[in-house]
Symmetry: C2
Subunit: 142 residues, 2 copies
């Protein structure tokens, strides 16, 4: 009853790239050791982040870099890069069409669920990688 860890992992990945890609080659192995997530999972996420044009990865030689300025990447972008755009809440599969409630439950709830989802993603869209990196750098310096 909650979202997967993909958003947290993808954000972690991008912060590692933002923080270290000028000094080191950021391989899936490197990211795997920072996140403790299997390197194949990381590679699949790197592919999705590439599809979303958030990073580019050098095949063969290896290493990933950001393709956009940090303030142009929001957590909403990251979410949609790595997760599918499903509805926020699931429904029971076969409500009884012969019952007035069963027949109308989707009509009643669909738009309201969508709305709840929308305000949540609006919040996520206000968070940029930029803000996260500034806060991270403060935490590191202490």
């Amino acid at each position: 009853m909650q979202f997967s860890s993909k958003l947290a992992i993808a954000t972690h990945i991008l912060l590692v790239i933002a923080e270290f890609s000028d000094k080191e080659k950021i391989t899936s192995e490197f990211i795997s050791s920072s996140t403790n997530v299997n390197p194949v999972i990381i590679r699949n996420m790197l592919l999705k982040l590439q599809d979303a044009k958030i990073i580019q990865t050098k095949a063969g030689v290896g290493g990933s870099e950001l393709t956009k300025p940090l303030n142009k990447i929001t957590m909403r972008d990251i979410f949609y890069a790595v997760e599918e755009d499903k509805d926020l809440f699931k429904f029971h599969a076969n409500p009884n069409e012969d019952c007035p409630v069963g027949r109308n439950i989707h009509k009643l709830l669909d738009k309201r669920f969508d709305n709840a989802k929308e305000v949540m993603f609006d919040e996520l869209s206000k968070i940029t990688l930029d803000q996260l990196k500034i806060e991270l750098d403060k935490l590191i310096k202490k």
Copy 2:
């Protein structure tokens, strides 16, 4: 990567009670046939709705009724009655504490995830059973 169907089912249950409890005895079997969800699952949800003082159920003889006026029951209340209060987004389990990013990823994201969750539940708190029943009755009359 989404919420379970518990909220939709629980809302369905309460609407069935609101709509029919004056005319018929609302048993778990009755609700099961309207939702097409297993009666034991329904009974467990009825228990949680009882704990939350949203309904009362007659043991032995059977039948459930609402204990509050419809405009005092929000979808936020229903959610918390039947779902656990987990975080909205999961995290990867063991980020590397020796990496500056791994060490700080929770500090960076926890409050932001909580905030996104909060605005979503604020939206759910604006939806009352009352509103749903009025809309449902309109749909039924057509």
